[in-house]
C-alpha cells in the first residue's frame, strides 16, 4: 500500500497528539494524582503508537509503546508519578517530536533513543534506582493489603546488606498467581520449594504460614539470596503452572535501602488507624528526603472545552493558495466588468455587476479568514518550554496564557514563534528574579509571566509581561554608554521609554555573562528586526522592581498589505506603507554630493538619496534628468533614506505573491503583486535600501 498519501495526515495528527501529550503531561505535573489525565495521556500515546506502526515507523512505535507501558502502570495505580518519571516521559516526548520532524523532512523517523528506552524500561520494571517497586496492589474485596516491598527488620536487612557486600546475589522476587488458580497456596508452595533448593529466602510477605493457609491475594513477594541468575530463576518460576508473572530484581545496597524505606512507609500507612490504601499509597521513596519540587505551575486562564467534537476539516495550505489566486483573478475580472458596465450604461448590467461586487467582497473576506489560525498553535509549546527553563534556572514560574484563541494569518503565525520564544526566555532569565531575590524583595516565590494576545483595530497585540525586577534606567544607560550605543549626553536627554528601547539596539545585551538560556549570540535586536520585517512593532514598558512588559504589535495578515504604488517610466512598483515616513518633492540642487554619496537635507538632518531608476536600471526614466523629483522617505528602525521615483500612483491594498523558486533572491525586491489591470508589480524591500 502506498503510504505517501497518508503521510501528511499522519504528520498532522502526530503533531496534534504530541501537543496534547505535552499539555496533559504539564497538567499532570500540577496534579500528579489525577488519573483522569493519565487516561487521556495513555489514549493519546496509544493512538500515536498505532498510527506509527501502521505507517511503518518502527522506532516511533516502539518508543511510544514503552511510554504506554509506563503509563499503563500509572493508570492502574501500580506506579506513582514522580519527578524522574516526568522527566523521562518529557524526554520521550522530545524524542518523538524529533522523529516526527524527521519524518516531516522526508526522513525515516529514526533516532537513537536507547537511553530513554532504557530509562522507561527501568521505570516499568521497577529497577530504576529511584526505587519504585510497584505500589500496593489493592483489592477491595479483601481486608488483606499486600504491600509490594517487604518490610525487613534490622537483622534481616543487615543479612541482606552483608550478603550484597560479600558479593552474593540478593534478589527481590514478586510472583503473581493466575486469577483462575484454584490452589494458590499450592502454587506458592511450589515456588518456595523451587527457590529453597538453590538459595535462601530471607523474608517473604505475606509470611510463609499465611501463604500456606492461602491467606494472601494473588501476589506475594520475597527477598532471596542465591547464586543463580535472575533470569534463570524467573524462567524457573514461570515454568510452574498457573503463575501469571514473576518479577525478579537484583538488588544492590542502594536499591535495597530504598526498598526498605519504601516498605517502612507502606507499613506506616498500614498502621494508620483508618487504612486508606487507595488514597494514600506510599510516598515515593527516592524523593522522600527532599520534597519533590514543582518548578512551574502552568495554567491556561481560559480553560479549554473538554474534547469538543471537532468541527473543522484540514485543508492543505496550497489549496488555499490556489483558491486565493483564483479569487484574485475573479477580482480583476470584476473591476473590468465594472468598467465595461459603466461604459455601456446598461442599467440591468450595472445592477448585476453591483451585486456581483458585493458578493465577491463577502467572498473575499471569507477566503481571507480561511487563512486565519489561532495563536494557540504557537503558544501551546510555551508551557513546556517555561517548565524546562524554570527547572534549569531553579526558579518558580507561573505562565498565564490569555487570548490563545486570537486569530492571526497563517504566514504571521509561522514567523512569530521564534521572536516570542526569545522574549519569553528573556523574561524568565533576565526578568524574573531568583527565589532568594524575590523573597528578599517581599515578592511571592512564584514568579508570574503573562502571555496575552488580543485584537485591537487592524492589529493583533501579543504581550509578554513578567513581575520580575524590571529595568533600571541607570544600569541600562551605563551599559549602553559602555558598549558605545549612545553617548552620555544623548542618554541623559532620553525618556525612560527611549532608554528601554536601547535593549533592541544591535549588539546590546545587559547580561554580564552570556547565559545558555537567552544569550545565544543573538540579542533582542534580532527579535526587533524580525517583528519589523513582519510589518509589526515591539515596545517595552517597565517599572523598576515591579516588572517588564514587552508588547508586540502585529498586522492581522501578511498576505495583504497597504502599499504606495509608484511609477518609474513604464514600470510600477509597490512600496509597503508601513515603512514610508512621508512623500515629498525635492529640487535637483537640493541633492548634494558628500564624499561620493548623494544626500539630501530632510527635517534638518542629512539622509541618503537613492535613485531607484539607477539601482534597478529602469530603461525609460532617470531622475537625474529631472529638475524636480518625487521622493519617498523610507525608514528602517531609526534610519531614514529618500528614494527617488517618477510619480506616485496612489495607495492601494495589495496581495503579496511569491515569485517562485526559480528566480534568485533579488536585493531590494521582496515579492510581487498583481494590480487591478492584471499586470505584475514588484514590491520594494525598503530594508535593503538602508544599510
Amino acid at each position: 500500500m502506498d503510504m505517501n498519501q497518508y503521510l501528511s495526515m499522519f504528520i498532522d495528527e502526530s503533531n496534534d497528539h504530541l501537543q496534547s501529550l505535552n499539555e496533559n503531561m504539564l497538567q499532570l505535573e500540577g496534579s500528579p494524582e489525577d488519573l483522569g489525565i493519565v487516561q487521556v495521556i495513555f489514549r493519546s500515546a496509544h493512538t500515536l503508537k498505532g498510527m506509527a506502526a501502521t505507517m511503518g515507523f518502527e522506532d516511533l512505535a516502539s518508543l511510544t509503546h514503552k511510554m504506554e507501558n509506563v503509563l499503563d502502570l500509572v493508570r492502574n495505580e501500580k506506579l506513582k508519578m514522580q519527578d524522574f518519571i516526568f522527566d523521562t516521559l518529557f524526554k520521550s516526548l522530545d524524542a518523538l517530536e524529533n522523529m516526527v520532524q524527521d519524518i516531516t523532512g522526508g526522513g525515516e523517523g529514526k533516532a537513537d533513543v536507547s537511553s530513554i528506552v532504557a530509562s522507561l524500561q527501568a521505570i516499568e520494571s521497577g529497577e530504576w534506582t529511584g526505587g519504585t517497586a510497584p505500589v500496593t496492589e489493592v483489592n477491595q474485596s479483601s481486608s488483606t493489603v499486600t504491600p509490594s516491598a517487604v518490610e525487613l527488620d534490622e537483622f534481616q536487612y543487615s543479612v541482606l546488606d552483608q550478603s550484597i557486600a560479600e558479593g552474593h546475589r540478593v534478589l527481590y522476587i514478586e510472583v503473581l498467581v493466575s486469577e483462575q488458580s484454584q490452589l494458590k497456596g499450592v502454587r506458592a508452595y511450589m515456588v518456595f520449594d523451587m527457590l529453597e533448593r538453590s538459595g535462601e529466602i530471607v523474608k517473604s510477605f505475606p509470611t510463609v504460614q499465611d501463604i500456606e493457609q492461602e491467606k494472601f491475594e494473588r501476589s506475594f513477594s520475597l527477598y532471596y539470596i542465591t547464586t543463580k541468575e535472575a533470569q534463570e530463576l524467573e524462567k524457573g518460576i514461570m515454568s510452574i503452572s498457573e503463575i501469571e508473572s514473576a518479577k525478579v530484581i537484583q538488588l544492590d545496597q542502594e536499591t535495597l535501602q530504598q526498598m526498605t524505606n519504601q516498605a517502612a512507609a507502606t507499613a506506616e500507612v498500614e498502621a494508620a488507624p483508618v487504612p486508606a490504601p487507595v488514597d494514600a499509597p506510599p510516598e515515593p521513596s527516592s524523593s522522600s528526603k527532599e520534597e519533590p519540587k514543582k518548578p512551574v505551575v502552568t495554567k491556561t486562564a481560559a480553560p479549554k472545552q473538554a474534547a469538543a467534537p471537532s468541527r473543522t476539516i484540514r485543508v492543505d495550505i496550497e489549496r488555499l493558495d490556489v483558491l486565493m489566486n483564483l479569487f484574485s483573478e475573479l477580482l480583476i475580472d470584476r473591476s473590468r466588468l465594472e468598467q465595461l458596465a459603466s461604459e455601456t450604461g446598461n442599467n440591468d448590467l450595472s445592477d448585476t455587476v453591483a451585486h456581483l461586487s458585493r458578493v465577491s467582497t463577502d467572498l473575499q473576506n471569507i477566503v481571507l479568514k480561511l487563512r486565519m489560525v489561532p495563536v494557540d498553535t504557537v503558544f501551546n509549546r510555551f508551557p513546556r518550554m517555561i517548565r524546562d527553563l524554570a527547572k534549569t534556572l531553579d526558579k518558580k514560574i507561573d505562565l498565564v496564557i490569555t487570548g490563545a484563541e486570537t486569530e492571526l494569518d497563517r504566514t504571521v503565525i509561522d514567523e512569530i514563534g521564534d521572536p516570542l520564544v526569545h522574549l519569553l526566555r528573556n523574561a524568565v532569565d533576565h526578568g524574573v528574579e531568583s527565589i532568594a531575590e524575590r523573597v528578599a524583595a517581599g515578592k511571592p516565590e512564584l514568579g508570574t509571566v503573562n502571555l496575552r494576545a488580543f485584537h485591537s483595530g487592524n492589529h493583533v497585540f501579543i504581550e509578554i509581561e513578567d513581575d520580575g525586577k524590571g529595568i533600571y534606567r541607570d544600569n541600562l544607560l551605563r551599559t549602553a554608554v559602555k558598549r558605545g550605543v549612545v553617548t552620555e549626553e544623548q542618554g541623559a536627554k532620553m525618556s525612560d521609554d527611549e532608554v528601554n528601547q536601547l535593549l533592541f539596539a544591535p549588539g546590546f545585551s545587559t547580561a554580564d555573562k552570556i547565559s545558555d538560556i537567552s544569550g545565544r549570540g543573538v540579542g533582542l535586536d534580532v527579535v526587533k528586526s524580525k517583528i519589523t520585517s513582519l510589518g509589526g512593532n515591539v515596545t517595552i514598558h517597565s517599572t523598576p522592581g515591579k516588572g517588564t512588559n514587552f508588547s508586540v504589535q502585529l498586522p492581522l495578515t501578511l498576505s495583504i498589505i497597504a502599499a504606495m504604488l509608484v511609477r518609474l517610466g513604464s514600470e510600477k512598483y509597490a512600496v509597503p506603507l508601513s515603512s514610508i515616513v512621508e512623500t515629498a518633492i525635492v529640487q535637483r540642487e537640493q541633492v548634494r554630493n558628500i564624499h561620493g554619496n548623494k544626500m539630501i537635507t530632510f527635517r534638518e538632518s542629512l539622509i541618503p538619496y537613492l535613485s531607484l531608476s539607477e539601482v534597478f536600471g529602469v530603461p525609460d526614466f532617470n531622475d537625474a534628468d529631472e529638475q524636480e523629483t518625487e521622493i519617498v522617505v523610507i525608514r528602517k528602525g531609526e534610519r531614514l533614506a529618500a528614494v527617488a521615483v517618477e510619480e506616485f500612483i496612489g495607495q492601494s491594498e495589495i496581495v503579496l505573491k511569491s515569485m517562485g523558486t526559480y528566480l534568485p533572491a533579488i536585493e531590494g525586491i521582496s515579492g510581487a503583486t498583481i494590480l487591478g489591470d492584471g499586470q505584475v508589480a514588484l514590491i520594494l524591500d525598503p530594508n535593503a535600501f538602508i544599510k
Partner: protein, 153 residues
C-alpha cells in the same frame, strides 16, 4: 514493447525542440511581462498566469542564441519541474506528436550552438525531421548559470 512519448514541439529559429507533454502545463500567447531588475539577462521578467506570478525565460537567450523580436507566433511554454514553474519564450509552438522512445539518440557532440548538456537527445522523426529533446533539469539549473554569469562579469 515500444514505448511512445508524447512531446510538445516548439521552434527556435529553424530548429525544432521537444519537451515531454507531462512537463508542460500550458502554452500561452505572448502577454505583458514585468521586467525584474538585477537578474539573469535571459530572464525577461514575470507574468501573471491566472493569479500566479511566474518568471519567464527567453529560451534563445538561455541558449546564447541571438534574441529576436517577438511575433504573433511567439509563445510562452509554461513548464513545471518539481515545485518550480517557469515560462519559456519560444518562436512558435503548435504541435504535439508521439515519438518512440527508441527513436531518441543520445546527443551528438556539437561544437558551439546549444550546449550538449541541455539536450537529452535527438529524435529522428519519420519525415526526416530532427527533434531536439531538452533536458529540463539542466536548462533550469541555476548553479551553472551563476557560474556563467560570474565568468562573464
Amino acid at each position: 514493447m515500444e514505448e511512445e512519448l508524447k512531446v510538445i514541439v516548439f521552434k527556435l529559429g529553424s530548429e525544432e525542440y521537444g519537451i515531454e507533454v507531462d512537463k508542460v502545463q500550458t502554452i500561452e500567447r505572448m502577454m505583458p511581462i514585468t521586467r525584474v531588475p538585477k537578474t539573469f539577462s535571459f530572464v525577461k521578467g514575470v507574468i501573471n498566469l491566472r493569479g500566479v506570478v511566474i518568471p519567464v525565460i527567453d529560451l534563445r537567450g538561455r541558449f546564447s542564441l541571438r534574441e529576436t523580436e517577438y511575433t504573433d507566433q511567439t509563445r510562452i511554454v509554461i513548464v513545471g519541474v518539481d515545485d518550480m514553474q517557469v515560462g519559456f519564450i519560444v518562436d512558435s509552438a503548435n504541435d504535439v506528436i508521439d515519438i518512440k522512445r527508441d527513436a531518441i539518440d543520445s546527443p551528438p557532440e556539437v561544437v558551439g550552438g546549444v550546449k550538449a548538456r541541455y539536450l537529452r537527445g535527438v529524435a529522428k522523426l519519420e519525415d526526416a525531421r530532427l527533434l531536439i529533446m531538452l533536458n529540463l533539469n539542466e536548462v533550469l539549473n541555476k548553479s551553472e548559470v551563476v557560474q556563467l554569469e560570474s565568468i562573464e562579469g
